[in-house]
């Protein structure tokens, strides 16, 4: 297709994906409060509309109308840069995630993905690395002891678990032979015996999946690894001195990262959009996207479920777990996978 058509189609995809992502972020906050509430044997938000459906809207309005206070003792340029950096990185990582197979609308043949680069996985890992800066700079520029400690702890935690995260994905790479996320999904299509899908989880990467999930929970600073922003520990950690929209940006960045982690887990370990496809042509076109969204929502539900169930790690336990347990386990997984593949 011509360059003009390509740019137009890409722009439409970007607008749709950003809109869907931001709505998903808003409603994940509602889902979290309702699910945690039900697990704790109470209703979550239920007043603002039927089943609390308009609660995220009310939260958004609240954030907009809150007083946007910039304390006088902060280092302003970086204080203002940090939430922007966090949110930008969180929203950009979704660009390389494939949502569905190639579709043909009219005479435009395009993949359901914003950018199908052949180093897709490395792009996501690189963006996760850049995301550390948002937190490190936020804590430092706030010029307050809670922020500084919280941001140092959070950055050290994120940098440590990035290593285990990257290593756990090498098994998937060996099995798929490519860094491109679309090719990784295509390598997982098909079934054994007609009903067991050929997902990487069933091809032996279940250890890698659990390492990935635990490292990803630590990367996104969620319970049980959220010591850096827990209220009883450090007031609010690195975003203590932020109010209104700047805090909302950190908040959205956290949930967008959660969504990206869930998308990556389905793409890398659970076959992306693979699932039974049946029915008339329109249903056939929509079903892969439906399976993808179903798997992503399952992982987000598991995220929230773990949050409601587990207590948090102490900081030294957290770092010991990352370096002394997950890292050797990820290396062992790499060696075993490489051995099995080489012997075939």
């Amino acid at each position: 297709m011509s360059i003009g058509t390509y740019i137009l189609v890409s722009l439409i995809k970007i607008v749709v994906v950003v809109f869907v992502l931001l709505t998903a972020v808003a409603y994940t906050t509602l889902a979290e409060r309702k699910v945690v509430g039900h697990i704790q044997n109470r209703w979550g938000p239920s007043r603002v509309g039927p089943f609390g459906i308009w609660q995220p809207l009310a939260d958004g309005l609240k954030f907009i109308f809150k007083e946007d206070l910039t304390p006088p003792y902060v280092y302003k340029p970086i204080y203002l840069l940090a939430p922007v950096l966090s949110l930008t990185v969180a929203l950009t990582a979704i660009a390389v995630v494939p949502i569905g197979p190639w579709v043909t609308i009219g005479n435009i043949h395009t993949p359901l993905q914003i950018a199908d680069v052949n180093i897709g996985l490395l792009v996501v890992l690189g963006l996760t690395g850049i995301g550390v800066y948002g937190i490190a700079l936020a804590g430092w520029s706030s010029n307050s002891k809670y922020s500084m400690l919280g941001s140092l702890r959070a950055s050290a935690q994120m940098v440590s678990y990035e290593v285990a995260l990257g290593l756990s994905l090498i098994g998937v790479l060996i099995l798929s032979g490519s860094f491109s996320l679309r090719e990784i999904v295509d390598a997982q299509s098909g079934t054994w015996l007609g009903f067991i899908p050929k997902w990487n989880f069933f091809k032996g990467q279940f250890v890698a999946f659990f390492i990935y999930i635990m490292a990803a929970y630590a990367e996104t600073n969620r319970i049980p690894f959220d010591l850096a922003e827990a209220e009883t520990e450090l007031v609010a950690g690195y975003h203590t001195e932020y109010s209104s929209m700047k805090f909302a940006m950190f908040f959205m960045a956290e949930y967008a990262n959660m969504f990206t982690v869930a998308c990556l887990a389905t793409v890398l370990f659970f076959g992306g959009w693979s699932g039974p496809v049946f029915g008339p042509a329109l249903l056939r076109a929509c079903l892969p996207v439906f399976w993808f969204l179903l798997k992503v929502l399952t992982f987000i539900f598991i995220y929230i479920w773990v949050r409601a169930t587990l207590p948090r790690f102490r900081y030294d336990q957290l770092m010991a777990f990352g370096w002394k347990f997950l890292l050797p386990l990820a290396v062992a997984n790499t060696m075993v996978t490489a051995l099995v593949v080489a012997l075939q």
């Binding site: 280092y75 340029p77 970086i78 680069v117 052949n118 180093i119 490395l122 792009v123 890992l125 690189g126 996760t128 690395g129 850049i130 550390v132 800066y133 490190a136 700079l137 804590g139 430092w140 500084m148 140092l152 950055s155 940098v159 990035e162 860094f179």
Partner: protein
Amino acid sequence: MHLVLFLIFGALCVGGAINLLAQKHPINSALSLIVVMGSLALLYLLLGAEFVAAVQIIVYAGAVMVLFVFVIMLLNAGAEEVLPHASRVAVMLGVPGLILGLAIGIWVISRYAGLDKISIGGPAIMNGAESFGNPASVARLLFRDFLLPFEVTSVLILIAILGAVVLARREE
């Protein structure tokens, strides 16, 4: 088109580098260095080496520079004081200007003495344009043709880590 993109990203790189020298507070200089690393990665992309570009972002901008930023944060380095008798422009442009002059001199001399035809490359570099920058070809070079340098470099980095741990250990 290629030239236009190169000029834009090259200007971004040089601008970041000059800003690094011009800023008074070290954290701004560190952030400018991150911009330089990022624009180098973009220049690698323009050259067709996408794996190296991604690794540049992951390793340099995402790990090494985080270390720099940590050091600046922990030591609480403040803005530098202006020396009373020195011109800031002279300090900023002096050393890079000297290095640039030397580099141009060396290039001119080597060009006219015919010394720039010596290549220090290995066996499999110029094999074909289609198998150049992707991870598979880089892996082939790294793990087959250059395996010994790769392993020796790993041991070297391990020695450096051990040295850092020994030097930073508290005396008991």
